[in-house]
Amino acid sequence: MENSQLIEVEPINFNVQPPHLYSEYKSTILRSPTKPLIPVKEQLKDLSLPAFGDSAIGKWDHDLTKNARKNGEPIGERIKVSGKVMDEYGRPLRNVLVEIWQANAAGRYIHKAEIHDAPLDPNFLGAGRMLTDREGRYSFYTIKPGAYPWGNHFNAWRPNHIHFSVIGHQIGHRLVTQMYFPGDPLFEFDPIFQSVPKHARELLIAKFRMDWTEPEFALAYEFNIVLNGKCQTPFE
C-alpha cells in the first residue's frame, strides 16, 4: 500500500466497540474486567474453529414462524431478516454458524426466568440458526419482536431487538450482538444500545428493504455482519 496515494477525505473511526464497563448498564459494574486484557499473537492455524456441515442444521431452523408450531401460526408481524457475514475487507464468510433468539410479538421471552407479564405464544419459540452460504448470506423468517421492560432502572424498556451469535472461522471471529429496527423511539433510553460509540450505533440497526419484501407475505430487513479480522480460509 502506498501511503502517498491514501488521501482520507472523511476519516472513518474504526473504534466501534462498547467499553467493558458502562455504568449506565448497571450489571457491567460487577461483571466487567478491571485489569488490562493481555494480547495474544498466534499462528493462524491455532486460531481456526471447525466448520459445521449442512446436515447439522434442521429443515426449519431458519424459519421461526414454523419451527415451534403446535396448533397454528405464531401471532405477530411476519418479517424476513437477511444479510451477509463478511470480513473487514468485505469478503464473504461462508459456512458461518448464525444463531438467533428473540422475544415474541408481545415482548415475552420463553426463557423460564423471564417474569414480564405479557403472553407467551404457544406457536413461537424464538430460536433459530443457519449456516451462511457461499456468498456469506443468511436469511431468517420470524415474527417482529416486541419491546419489553427490564430492571436496570425505573421504567427501563429494551428497544425491539434480535440477539445474534456468530461463530466465524477463527476464535477471534466470535461475535454476540443484537440487531435493532430502524427509528425505534427507545434507542435514546437504552443503555445497552447507548454503550456503543455514537458514530457506530447505526451498524446495529437493520435497514428496511422494500425491494426484498415478499408481496402479501413478509416485510424485509437487511442486517450485515462484519467480523473482526481477515478471512483466512485457505481454500479460497
Partner: protein, 203 residues
C-alpha cells in the same frame, strides 16, 4: 481494498438458553454444541472441567455462557466439519451456568496435547454473560503441567502474580479426574482475560 467497520458487540443478555443451550435447560429445541467434547472412541485421558464464575462481590454467576475450544490428545484441533451433535471429537463445548444448584459448569473431555513448540497443553475459553458487553477470552492451563507451562509463550507474557488465575487444579473425585477452574470477573483473583490480535496490517 476499502475496509469495513466491524459489527459492534452487545451483551448475550439473560435469555440465551432456549437457543444456545436448549437441551441443557430442557427447552424443546435441539443443540449442536453441549458439554461433551468427545465420544466413546476419542483417545486420551478422560477428564472433567468444572468451576464457577464469580462477580466483583464474590457471588456466583448463574446466567453465564461458557465455550471451550481445545485440541485432541495429539495436539490437533478438529478441522473436519461437524455434521451433528457429538460428532466424534469436536473439541468444541458450550454450557450455561444456570442448571446447577451451585452455578457450576461441568464439561466432559480429554486432556489436550501440546499443539507445538512453546505451547503447553491448554483449553481456549470464551465467556459471555449479562452485564458483559463483549465476549471474553481466557485460557485454561493444567496444574500437573508446571514444567511445560513455564515454557509456554503466552503464559510467560502474563505478569507472574496473575498466572495462577489460568491454572486449573487437578483433583481426584470418586475415581474420576476433575480440573477445577474458577473464573473471577474482578477482585484480587481477577482472571486474566485475553485479546486476540489478527495478523492484519495495521496502517
Amino acid at each position: 481494498m476499502e475496509k469495513l467497520r466491524q459489527t459492534p458487540s452487545q451483551t448475550v443478555g439473560p435469555f440465551f438458553a432456549y437457543s444456545l443451550t436448549a437441551e441443557q435447560y430442557g427447552y424443546d429445541y435441539n443443540s449442536l454444541i453441549n458439554g461433551l467434547l468427545i465420544n466413546h472412541d476419542t483417545e486420551g485421558e478422560r477428564i472433567y472441567i468444572t468451576g464457577r464464575i464469580y462477580d466483583g462481590k464474590g457471588q456466583t454467576i448463574p446466567d453465564a455462557l461458557i465455550e471451550l475450544w481445545q485440541a485432541d490428545a495429539n495436539g490437533q484441533y478438529r478441522s473436519l466439519p461437524i455434521h451433528q451433535k457429538n460428532d466424534g471429537f469436536t473439541g468444541l463445548g458450550r454450557l450455561g451456568t444456570g442448571t446447577d444448584v451451585q452455578d457450576r459448569f461441568l464439561f466432559t473431555t480429554i486432556k489436550p496435547g501440546s499443539i507445538g513448540d512453546g505451547q503447553a497443553p491448554h483449553i481456549n475459553i470464551i465467556l459471555f454473560m449479562r452485564g458483559s458487553l463483549h465476549r471474553l477470552y481466557t485460557r485454561l492451563y493444567f496444574s500437573d503441567e508446571s514444567a511445560t507451562n513455564s515454557q509456554d509463550e503466552l503464559f510467560n507474557t502474563i505478569p507472574e502474580e496473575r498466572r495462577n488465575t489460568l491454572i486449573a487444579q487437578r483433583k481426584q473425585n470418586a475415581g474420576r479426574i476433575e480440573y477445577h477452574f474458577d473464573i473471577y470477573m474482578q477482585g484480587e483473583k481477577e482472571t486474566v482475560f485475553l485479546m486476540y490480535i489478527t495478523n492484519d496490517v495495521i496502517s
